[in-house]
């Protein structure tokens, strides 16, 4: 009798103990869960940049990256300038394809293929009618080319089967043609598979100034791009000039009342349409930049398909931090959003300093035309204006 009682008690005792233990651990876990909640957030607090908590955390080390998005806006590459016997201006540029890991958002690294170690590649700038010579070296790990959006002979088209075709690792080639038509153009790799070669960062701006120039303005180059970090055919980080939310972290300084000109290029892969929306002002739009009259007047939102580009011209009446971003809102929240810091003339120097920029940056922005940046040549009829 005592035998059976003890066995029964053992069973029920064991069962109850198990359940009791489970209960105790459950309650303690519940306590822990509640303690962890309601952290150190003031849920209603608005972040300084004015869009609440919809932000990335941290900053990007531009020195380690090798390029600074604020500098990319204005660092036109005029090439090595000389004059040909027939009087034509010759500009020689050096482009080297090289692999590089870059930081595209705070803490997120991307294995990029680059021209000259930066994404986007150098902004090649020239005047319509100049002779362009690009010395291209493939120091990467896959075959590459350079394909220009412009008018040129078939051998210079930079596609497989044209001229040298794809340049293998270690090979080099000199692309040469006349720069036409004037406008805001670009170049990119045309090796196959095409999506991957473009998406991994082999693109850059190619700006051809009209001979008669354009009205004076503060000019910026903006390349809209995006990165698919896990290679699933969809982009995880969107940006303008490569680093997500960079111009929201460091707004671009400009003056009240001055004309601002954007050379805006769309190189976002995988998404059919990108767009640009400007806050609080309207702009004139020059599709492809190939006309001196606007193709769209007084608009505040335009769309660009991939490889489409254009010139925007606008000015701000009042000071403030004005946003600009894709109106494909998904891109906006994934990094394609920036701000202009419009300040009165008197405060502009301080604004430059606060952004870590100098007078040289200011000069390049306002005096960027290739024709105004010719080197001093002793025996040439043209003299550089400074």
């Amino acid at each position: 009798m005592s035998d059976k009682v003890s066995r029964r008690n053992l069973l029920s005792g064991a069962g109850l103990t198990l359940l009791g233990g489970l209960g105790i651990s459950a309650l303690s876990k519940a306590q822990g869960a509640i303690r962890a909640s309601g952290g150190n957030f003031d849920v209603g607090h608005q972040h300084e940049t004015g869009h609440g908590n919809a932000m990335m955390i941290g900053t990007v080390d531009h020195e380690k990256n090798g390029f600074d998005p604020l500098q990319l806006l204005t660092d036109w590459d005029y090439g090595k300038v000389s004059t040909l016997p027939n009087g034509q201006t010759l500009r020689e540029y050096q482009l080297i394809a090289v692999d590089k890991e870059i930081e595209i958002a705070p803490g997120i690294f991307f294995p990029a293929w680059t021209y000259n170690g930066r994404v986007p590649g150098p902004t090649l700038r020239c005047t319509e009618g100049d002779r362009i010579r690009i010395n291209f070296v493939n120091a990467g790990t896959h075959p590459h080319t350079i394909h220009f959006h412009g008018v040129h002979p078939f051998e210079m088209d930079g596609v497989p089967g044209a001229g040298p075709g794809q340049l293998n690792v270690g090979e080099s080639f000199v692309y040469e043609f006349d720069a036409e038509p004037f406008g805001c153009h670009h170049y990119h790799c045309h090796a196959v598979p095409l999506k991957r070669h473009i998406h991994k960062g082999l693109y850059g701006a190619f700006i051809v100034d009209p001979k008669e120039g354009r009205p004076p303005a503060r000019e910026f180059m903006m390349m809209m791009n995006a990165f698919d970090t896990n290679f699933d055919g969809a982009n995880e980080v969107y940006a303008v000039n490569t680093v997500g939310f960079e111009y929201a972290r460091r707004p671009i300084p400009a003056k009240v009342g001055e004309k601002i000109r954007l050379y805006l290029i769309n190189m976002v892969e995988f998404d059919p349409i990108n767009s640009f929306h400007l806050h609080a002002e309207f702009f004139n739009y020059f599709d492809h930049g190939t006309t001196l009259e606007p193709t769209l007047k007084t608009v505040d939102t335009i769309m660009q398909v991939q490889a489409q580009r254009g010139i925007l011209e606008f000015s701000y009446r009042w000071p403030g931090q004005y946003m600009y971003h894709a109106h494909v809102t998904e891109f906006t929240e994934l990094g394609w959003m920036g701000q202009f810091n419009i300040v009165p003339e008197a405060q502009f120097e301080d604004a430059l300093a606060a952004a870590g920029l100098d007078a040289e940056w200011d000069r390049r922005a306002t005096n960027g035309f290739a024709i105004d940046n010719m080197p001093e040549v002793e025996d040439s009829e043209e003299e550089g204006e400074e």
Partner: protein, 401 residues
């Protein structure tokens, strides 16, 4: 010579001489040396290291209040992972990581986001690592995660009462009627019990597998269920076998059935509580009605072995508590502090316990048939078995969601 004496066991003397200890320790020392070498120098295998392999799992997402999302993450991959950014519904969002956004192997972290989640809507969370790998999680239906409050305690307790205790008590109340049955009818009822236990075993097994499949890889969830079930089955069989000359008493059998059913009901309570916490359960009266019908047969099953020997009201109360009480406990735990690992383990124990009871009750029927020189697998018993499974299966239509 001393070596030989050390290795030849003398029953009455201490075998472990000093030399044996030395022999036992040498491999351990060498192991330590090999490990130290590998850690210090990489062992010459650096070239085989390969590209980084990152994996983290989102264990749980808690919504403690409006405007706050907590994501509990475990690193179940082979190497350290740093989560650089967090995306909610395709928008990067601020976050704080506790203790750190760098998770070592098997490390955990909680990411707290001040995100204004919307009631009853779906939200998708993506964690982006340093290398750009994306790890996804989902809030299927956003509701505030239940916090232990006396009100909610009572409500969950009530659910457990309706789901566990009430049906079993009702089933037990058939006892006086069943006592009047003849031998063949009793075997029918016992076969019915086996049928319902088989249904419960299969159901609990599948529930355990469902939880196990979601566990991080290092838990080896599916093998874990197999092992725990086997261990529980073996342990219970052994407990029964230790020191008993005769067979189990009927009351012991009833308690064993009650234990097995109790563990199954624990699992049911866990599932109900967890579903409620995730906003996936409509805990209306319809659901409770369904459970009452579904679990009433369990009371019959518990009463079946003791039809011949009335153990007294105290034991009936204990049996009902053992079988039905865990449903209350399960609902509390599932609603407030759900842990998928513990849920998997307890359900696996339940499978073992139920299988052990199936064995015992089956033996009972077979022994009785032997004693009366007839086959255990006659039409009446088979009908009982099938009816047991059928009743459980069809009443479950009301409770499976």
């Amino acid at each position: 010579m001393s070596t030989e004496s050390a290795t030849q066991p003398k029953p009455s003397s201490n075998r472990f001489s000093g030399l044996t200890w030395v022999f036992a320790l040498i491999p351990l020392i060498l192991l330590g040396a090999v490990l130290a070498y590998l850690v210090a120098t990489g062992g010459g295998l650096q070239d085989l290291a390969g590209p980084p392999v990152e994996h983290v799992s989102i264990e749980r997402i808690v919504l403690p209040e409006h405007g706050v999302v907590e994501v509990e993450v475990i690193n179940d991959g082979p190497q350290e992972v740093t989560i650089a950014q967090v995306v909610v519904d395709d928008a990067y969002w601020m976050f704080e990581a506790e203790p750190s956004n760098t998770l070592p192997r098997l490390g955990r972290a909680t990411f707290t986001l001040p995100y204004p989640w919307v009631d009853e809507e779906t939200h998708h969370i993506v964690l982006l690592s340093e290398l750009g790998t994306a790890f996804e999680g989902e809030i299927p239906v956003a509701v505030i995660t239940p916090k232990p409050s006396s009100d909610l305690f009572m409500r969950f307790g009530l659910i457990g009462l309706y789901v566990g205790i009430v049906p079993i008590v009702l089933g037990l109340l058939w006892y006086p009627a069943m006592r009047q049955m003849g031998r063949k009818a009793m075997n029918f009822i016992l076969s019915l019990t086996v049928g319902l236990l088989v249904y419960l075993a299969v159901g609990t097994w599948l529930d355990a597998m469902e939880f196990a499949a979601e566990l991080p890889a290092f838990w080896q969830g599916v093998p874990l269920v197999v092992f725990i079930s086997l261990i529980a089955l073996g342990a219970l069989l052994a407990v029964g076998a230790v020191g008993r000359g005769s067979e189990r008493t009927p009351l012991q059998l009833s308690y064993l059935i009650a234990l097995g059913i109790g563990l199954h009901n624990l699992g049911e309570g866990l599932a109900i509580g967890a579903a409620y916490a995730l906003g996936e359960a409509a805990l209306g009266t319809f659901l409770v009605l369904g459970f009452t019908l579904h679990n009433i047969t369990e009371g019959v099953g518990i009463a079946a072995p003791i039809l011949k020997h009335n153990p007294g009201i105290k034991h009936f109360a204990l049996l009902a508590l053992l079988a039905g009480g865990p449903a209350i406990l399960g609902t509390w735990v599932g609603g407030f502090a759900f842990d998928p690992v513990l849920a998997t383990i307890f359900l696996a124990i339940g499978v073992g316990a139920i299988l052990q009871v199936v064995w015992e009750v089956g033996k009972l029927v077979m022994r009785d048939s032997e004693r009366h020189n007839e086959s255990a697998l006659n039409w009446l018993n088979l009908a009982g078995l099938v009816l047991g499974i059928a009743i459980m299966y069809f009443t479950a239509f009301f409770v499976k969601f």
